[in-house]
C-alpha cells in the first residue's frame, strides 16, 4: 500500500543500517518515547539489526501504562455505578487496578463497552437516553483532540447523558521529567510521530536547547525508524543537537492547528499523576470549568480508596527507562500477556508486552536480510 510498502524497502534499510554502524563509534543509547515505536522496532527486528551500534531504550509513551493505579480504580468504580455505561478503547479492559480490572467489573454486571472512536460513545449516549454514558479518556495529544471533538458534538447535539473522565496526558513534560531525573543517560530521543502530527515537530525544540539532546521525529515503518535513528546517531556523534523531522509526510513543524484549537477549547492544562513518575506539573488535560457538567469525575463523585501498585511489578521503572522488562523478576514467569500483573504487559503498546511477544519471533519482514553485510 502507498506510504507503507515504499518505506519497507530492504535495500534502503540496509544502507541506513550500514551508515548507522559506520558512524557510531560506541553504542549510542536512544530512547523511543512512543510505545508504538517499541512495537514496530521489535516487529521489524531493528534492535538486532543495530545491536552494538545503538541501544534502544523504551520510554513512557504508552498511555494505558502511565495511567495511575488510583485513576484506574476510579474508572472501575465508575463502571460499577448503577445506570452507568462506561465506554473505552479496548486496551483498557484488562489493565489491573488495585483490586481487579474492567473485564472483571463487566463480569459482575457492569456495562462496559469498547468503542473505536469517542464519537461512537456520543452516538451510544444518544441512542440510550436513560443511561449515563461515560467515555474513559485515556491517551496523549494524538487522542485528546478527538475526545474534545466528541464532547463538543454532544454539546451541539444536546446529548445530556454523555460525560468524560479525562485522564489525558501531555508528552513533552514526561520527557522533561526523565531528563531532569537523570536516572538513565540518553544521547537521543526518538520523537513520537502521531503526537507530533498534533503538536508539531517544533514543540520538541526545548530538548536540544535546554538539554543538549537531539530529537528525531519518526514514523512507524522501518525506513522511518532507521532514518530517524541515523539522524540521532549523526547528531550525537557530531555534538550538534537539533530536532529533525524524519516523518515530514505526516508531521508539520507547527502541527495541526485545528486539533490544537479543539484541545484549547475543551481542556485546560493541569498536573497529572503518572505511573512510575508521580505527579508531573502541567502534564494533564482536565475539562474546562464551563464543561463541568460533562466531567464524569464531578458528576459522579466517588470516595477515593487508597490504591496500591501490583506487588513486585516494576512497570514504573520500565516507563522511566531505568530498567528493561526482562530485569523484572516476574517477566515471562508470573507475568505474561495471558496473566498480566502490570499494565506494561497488557497494553498493545506496553514495553513488557512487546519484549514478550517478539522475543522468540523472527521479524516479519525481509529487511532482516539487512543484517549480515557490514557485520564482518
Amino acid at each position: 500500500m502507498k506510504y507503507i510498502d515504499d518505506f519497507r524497502d530492504p535495500a534502503l534499510a540496509r544502507a541506513l543500517v550500514e551508515q548507522i554502524r559506520r558512524e557510531a563509534p560506541r553504542p549510542i543509547r536512544v530512547m523511543e518515547f512512543c510505545g508504538g515505536h517499541t512495537h514496530a522496532i521489535f516487529r521489524f527486528g531493528l534492535r538486532d539489526l543495530l545491536a552494538g551500534a545503538v541501544e534502544l531504550r523504551s520510554g513512557p509513551g504508552c498511555p494505558v501504562c502511565v495511567t495511575a493505579a488510583a485513576d484506574l480504580d476510579r474508572a472501575i468504580a465508575l463502571a460499577d455505578v448503577p445506570g452507568v455505561t462506561l465506554t473505552t478503547f479496548g486496551d483498557m479492559l484488562r489493565v489491573p487496578g488495585s483490586g481487579g480490572d474492567l473485564q472483571a467489573a463487566r463480569a459482575r454486571g457492569a456495562d462496559v463497552r469498547i468503542v473505536y472512536s469517542p464519537a461512537d460513545a456520543v452516538t451510544l449516549a444518544r441512542e440510550t437516553p436513560r443511561r449515563e454514558v461515560i467515555f474513559l479518556g485515556v491517551g496523549f495529544e494524538t487522542t485528546a483532540p478527538g475526545v474534545a471533538a466528541a464532547l463538543l458534538q454532544a454539546e451541539a447535539g444536546r446529548v445530556p447523558n454523555f460525560s468524560v473522565l479525562s485522564l489525558h496526558k501531555l508528552t513533552p513534560p514526561a520527557t522533561r521529567a526523565i531528563l531532569e531525573a537523570g536516572e538513565v543517560a540518553l544521547e537521543g530521543i526518538l520523537g513520537p510521530g502521531h503526537v507530533s502530527a498534533i503538536i508539531g515537530s517544533a514543540a520538541w525544540e526545548f530538548l536540544p536547547r535546554e538539554y543538549g539532546i537531539p530529537v528525531a521525529i519518526s514514523g512507524f515503518e522501518p525506513l522511518d525508524l532507521l532514518g530517524a535513528i541515523a539522524a540521532l546517531v549523526r547528531a550525537a556523534v557530531r555534538g550538534e543537537p537539533a530536532v529533525s523531522n524524519v516523518y515530514s509526510r505526516g508531521v508539520r513543524a507547527q502541527g495541526n492547528p485545528v486539533a490544537q484549537e479543539l484541545l484549547a477549547r475543551v481542556f485546560e492544562i493541569g498536573e497529572a499523576e503518572w505511573r512510575g513518575f508521580g505527579v508531573i506539573p502541567a502534564s494533564g488535560l482536565a475539562l474546562r470549568a464551563e464543561f463541568a457538567s460533562r466531567d464524569a469525575a464531578l458528576r459522579f463523585p466517588l470516595a477515593v480508596t487508597p490504591s496500591r501498585e501490583p506487588p513486585g511489578c516494576r512497570c514504573g521503572e520500565v516507563l522511566r527507562g531505568v530498567i528493561e522488562p526482562p530485569d523484572c523478576a516476574l517477566f515471562g514467569r508470573a507475568c505474561t500477556p495471558r496473566r498480566p500483573i502490570g499494565p506494561c504487559m497488557v497494553s498493545a503498546e506496553g514495553a513488557c508486552a512487546a519484549y514478550y511477544q517478539y522475543r522468540e519471533q523472527a521479524p516479519a519482514w525481509r529487511g532482516a536480510d539487512a543484517r549480515g553485510r557490514g557485520g564482518g
Binding site: A15, L16, Q19, C34, P63, P192
Partner: protein, 86 residues
C-alpha cells in the same frame, strides 16, 4: 494507542465526514481536523478522526534522501574493492 494509519479518502459528505477503506471494510471517519483534505488524499486516521493529510511530495523527498544514502553506500563499497565486506 497513538496508532494512526494511512487511508485514502473515497468520498466526503456535507458534514466533513469521509468514507475510507479501513482493513478491507468501508468506514466513516471525520475530517473536521483536516479542513484541507480532498477526495483521493491519504490521511492518517486515529480513533475515527483524520489527524493529518499525508504529503506526497514529502514522502518522495524522504525516499530520495534514503536512496542517496544507499548510493553513497554503494560507491563506498565499490571503493573498498572488497566483495561485500564493508
Amino acid at each position: 494507542m497513538c496508532l494512526a494509519i494511512p487511508v485514502q479518502i473515497q468520498s466526503i459528505d456535507a458534514d466533513r465526514n469521509a468514507i475510507v477503506a479501513l482493513g478491507g471494510v468501508s468506514r466513516q471517519i471525520s475530517l473536521i481536523m483536516t479542513p484541507e483534505a480532498q477526495v483521493g488524499d491519504y490521511v492518517l486516521v486515529h480513533t475515527g478522526y483524520a489527524i493529518s493529510v499525508l504529503s506526497e511530495e514529502e514522502a518522495q523527498a524522504s525516499l530520495e534522501a534514503f536512496a542517496e544514502i544507499a548510493k553513497i553506500q554503494a560507491e563506498m563499497e565499490m571503493g573498498n574493492g572488497e566483495m561485500g565486506h564493508g
